[in-house]
Symmetry: C2
Subunit: 318 residues, 2 copies
Amino acid sequence: MNPIAIGIHGGCGTLARDLQSTQDWAETEAALEASLRAAWTILKAGGSALDAVEAAVVVMEDSPHFNAGHGAALTENAEHELDASIMDGATLGAGAICAVRRIRNPIKAARAVMENSDCVLIVGDPADAFARRQGLAMVENGYFTTARRQQALASLKARKERGTLAAASEAERHGTVGAVALDAKGNLAAATSTGGFNNKPAGRVGDSPIIGAGTYARNGACAVSCTGQGEIFIRHAVAHDLWARMHYAAETLHRASDALIHDVMKPYKIGAGLVAVDAKGRIAAPYNTLGMARGWIGPDGVLHLGTHEEMKSLVLAS
Amino acid sequence: MNPIAIGIHGGCGTLARDLQSTQDWAETEAALEASLRAAWTILKAGGSALDAVEAAVVVMEDSPHFNAGHGAALTENAEHELDASIMDGATLGAGAICAVRRIRNPIKAARAVMENSDCVLIVGDPADAFARRQGLAMVENGYFTTARRQQALASLKARKERGTLAAASEAERHGTVGAVALDAKGNLAAATSTGGFNNKPAGRVGDSPIIGAGTYARNGACAVSCTGQGEIFIRHAVAHDLWARMHYAAETLHRASDALIHDVMKPYKIGAGLVAVDAKGRIAAPYNTLGMARGWIGPDGVLHLGTHEEMKSLVLAS
């Protein structure tokens, strides 16, 4: 059988251990595992990388423990504006939506844009309307809200008023989710979904829905999904740059990924991470913060996941 | 004196000669010349590439003969939704807005996002509100409307109903404007502004406001602004790819520009063009359609402009 692989991330940041309960961390890891297994089941059955990354992201969107879908960050107006994108490495087909408010699973809307419209990117209310016409599940904006994000927003606003907003807020700023996959036909795909960051200005859009910045996939080379301060990822077109380093400069996936996260991002002093897979199913998942929720199953069928430095491993039944 | 240069485009397409009167074509050329002269005056006085590209784009936004600002295309709802972006090659600072309705000069709002916010991209109504707070000139949405676009929209809708919509509509689909510049300090900058295309779906956003797709600038290499079917430019991250080809593969500006417009775009059978400048002030302006409104002034101080194959040249007083 040709190699297959799935890699996911649930955002990077300081991920301070005491910011969540032991149960919260356990649930986060369980969701990572469920996300990986959902994708793996598809890939093992000969399904497409596109179906796999969508399924992986949906699990994280539906979990309250990630900043995407249910559990997403709140804007300065205490609302949710969600962004997502998906790309098919076989065709370079791509779809994205941003600043949507009513779509239960934004990644499904991104895929519908790719497959059922002439657009790559639809923004705002028309994107919600498009998703509704596509028959996707719609929710009230409040569906996305969790007590944790409300508390974080209140805390951020209070600290901002007191002028004591510091780097400690980093933990509340990230949490984008993403997935990359290689299927048995050799096709690569990538998907990314986010709520942005807590207290973000209304209308602000980061790299997650931007093809070439937060998401990129191209057969024969790589698929990649990014997390971190989106403004810097856009300026460096990080996702496309990973492909360009491999394609034009013959860098390996690991070398290119490390260069982007550890060298290119260094002067900006921002949190940054990505997960990427190459055409052989090798996975890279570098980050420059204290932690990144992440996991992967490579061609060897071993599942790895973790939120901090140490990882758990699990040999899946073949 | 160090080399300085300005290059502009006013969109590519079939530009059928009989689609506009002789006077319209003369006015289009006059606007191109005014755009080039506005930028050149800034560059000659030691001004910045950023100021030059903004000034060049503002002239085209204010002219009814281009699909940006006044004269912009109409959406399927007979409204205007405008997109723009700008990038500073010296810092990689960037700003963009999309789906805005009330900002007289979208390129000024993009620059304000870059300089006066923590964002790179702001979308929709919040972008209009941001521009208003920045003190930029605001207009009613109808300010952007011209009789030509209204007629084109009516014609498109009629043909769509009759099912006779064909490639002939290409002429109405493009017209994005853009500018690239090299200043005496060696700094590069790029700017792009558009109304999208006539009868575009509400909420659809193309490559123009996407850093890395429609616009990119990085000192030491190139600045570039694209025009054409944005969906394909996003999928290939064309603007960043131009930089990547020069940086990683040591392609010249002309070779990289020609490869993108003539080779990469060929299988898609779409209209495509770009204008780009390198660190020595050399200008490339390839297009694969019958015409592209364009012009440039290189380090030799000779002004070139045209809308079709033949170009006019004018030696400027030094």
